[in-house]
């Protein structure tokens, strides 16, 4: 018997209905008579099945638009599926708190907002605020409006808020790539903590260094389907070979 499953994705399909806005040539205008609104269904995920295990860090790679972000959102169970199932032993946390934060307000006030969005009480946030600020390494900038932060500083704050309570299952979407060496070390530490507590981490990234540094197993997503699952070395090599100029 292998390690216990923490999240089980079965035959997940996610479609988006989007409005296309082509620039019609004269010919099309004459042919169609008038401009017509065109809706197209984007099949972002087309039957993905995946098991995530205890004490595992899973890498998620693939070209832009391959469906990485969609898969991570779907794993939280919050993105409506066209079909398929998502089972889990608890709800995974996606590092998505950034969308709740207000750029005009200071980092400190955003810790309150982000914490409330994650389900903390005000008292819990106050008692953890120092810890969050220390982990983010932003003590000098914490009372400045967040819009004055660099992208790396914002990523630090997001990560610090989102992992203020160490989650059982953490989904990371490109959050670490903009950080400096110090931040990478801190985030690697958090990932190890989750793993040693029998949790799971999924790391969606384009930085192959990170995959090799953290991951036990890698999934290659291509145009909404799993193209390969396996050892990081092999999958990364196959992925890189497919993107190499011919």
């Amino acid at each position: 018997m292998g390690p216990a499953v923490t999240v089980r994705v079965r035959d997940a399909h996610v479609y988006y209905r989007v409005y296309e806005d082509p620039v019609p040539g004269l010919k099309q205008i004459f042919a169609q008579g008038r401009a017509r609104r065109r809706y197209r269904t984007i099949r972002a995920l087309r039957g993905v099945s995946l098991d995530l295990h205890e004490s595992e860090t899973l890498g998620l790679i693939g070209a832009n638009g391959a469906g990485k972000t969609t898969l991570l959102s779907a794993m939280t169970g919050l993105l409506p599926l066209e079909s398929g199932t998502i089972l889990g032993r608890c709800r995974p946390s996606l590092l998505g708190v950034s969308s709740a934060l207000r750029p005009a307000l200071s980092g400190r006030r955003n810790i309150l907002i982000g914490g409330l969005a994650l389900g903390f009480t005000k008292a819990e946030i106050s008692s953890r605020a120092d810890e969050i600020i220390d982990f983010s390494g932003l003590r000098d900038a914490i009372d400045r409006p967040m819009r004055t932060y660099s992208s790396g500083m914002r990523a630090r704050l997001h990560f610090a808020i989102a992992t203020a309570r160490i989650p059982d299952i953490l989904l990371i979407d490109e959050a670490l790539a903009v950080g400096d060496e110090d931040f990478r070390r801190r985030s690697a530490q958090r990932i190890d903590e989750i793993r040693s507590a029998a949790g799971s981490v999924v790391l969606g990234t384009h930085v192959m260094d990170e995959i090799e540094r953290h991951c036990d197993r890698v999934v290659w997503l291509d145009d909404g389907v799993l193209k390969a699952v396996g050892e990081p070395g092999e999958v990364v090599a196959a992925y890189l070979a497919s993107t190499a100029p011919r």
């Binding site: 889990g88 032993r89 969308s99």
Partner: protein, 275 residues
Amino acid sequence: MSDRDQQLHDLTRPPSSASYLQEAWNRREFAILVPAQDLRAQNMGTVLGQLWHIANPALLVGVYFLIFGVVIDTSRGVENFLGFLIVGVVLFHLTQRVVQDAAVCISRNLGLIRSVQFPRILLPAATLNGQTAAFVPALVLAMVAVVATGERPSMRWLALPAVLAAQFLFNFGAALLVARIGASLSDLQQLLPHLFRLLFYASGVIFSVEAFVTSPAWRRAFALNPIYDVITCARWCLVGELADGWVVAGLLAWCIALPVIGFVVFHRSEQRLGA
């Protein structure tokens, strides 16, 4: 399947209604403190800063004071027209702000909805709380204006909190309904200003319906309009206008029915909100 795998549960299934309301209540701080932060952020870059929360309603009341109190005299059979007008404008404004904000509260927070699990009812509730808090200075100024135009506090003022509570409930129901519709139909945002322009006249904000509509049947028809009911009851409290039983019954019916309808509509398809 091993024993341990059987602990897995379906993450896409919605929570039950009872635990939903319990959870929403447990997380009420979100719906109170986040809009408070937003109100602070609103005027951050301005010279007056947080003073705008008082200056803005003061200007609203002041402009009506200037035009209808000084420039033109249009009492039209209303004893204290200025007080009558300001009470109407301020209360109408509150419902309008709540509803227009609620129409975009889902689309504005889509990123949050897609990444964090929380009872989505907190978003329209936060909208309601924020706008209601922003309304308090306007209400105080309206009461000052009412006294300044010659009214004296009376026992009727004691009924005002009940009228405002009814409006709060009605606004909550309207916010839930509009938030749900606005989430799937963004056209609503364009329609609402026109709907409110229409309601502005249908609610007798700047004229007395009593003075214009003589047929009792038509007056009863006005009682179907919840905003007219709120304004008329508040005027009964503050400036001694008439409010008949139809208006009170209309207000009661709306403030009970709409939150229930709003909740059912909002909660029913909540799981699809992230789409």
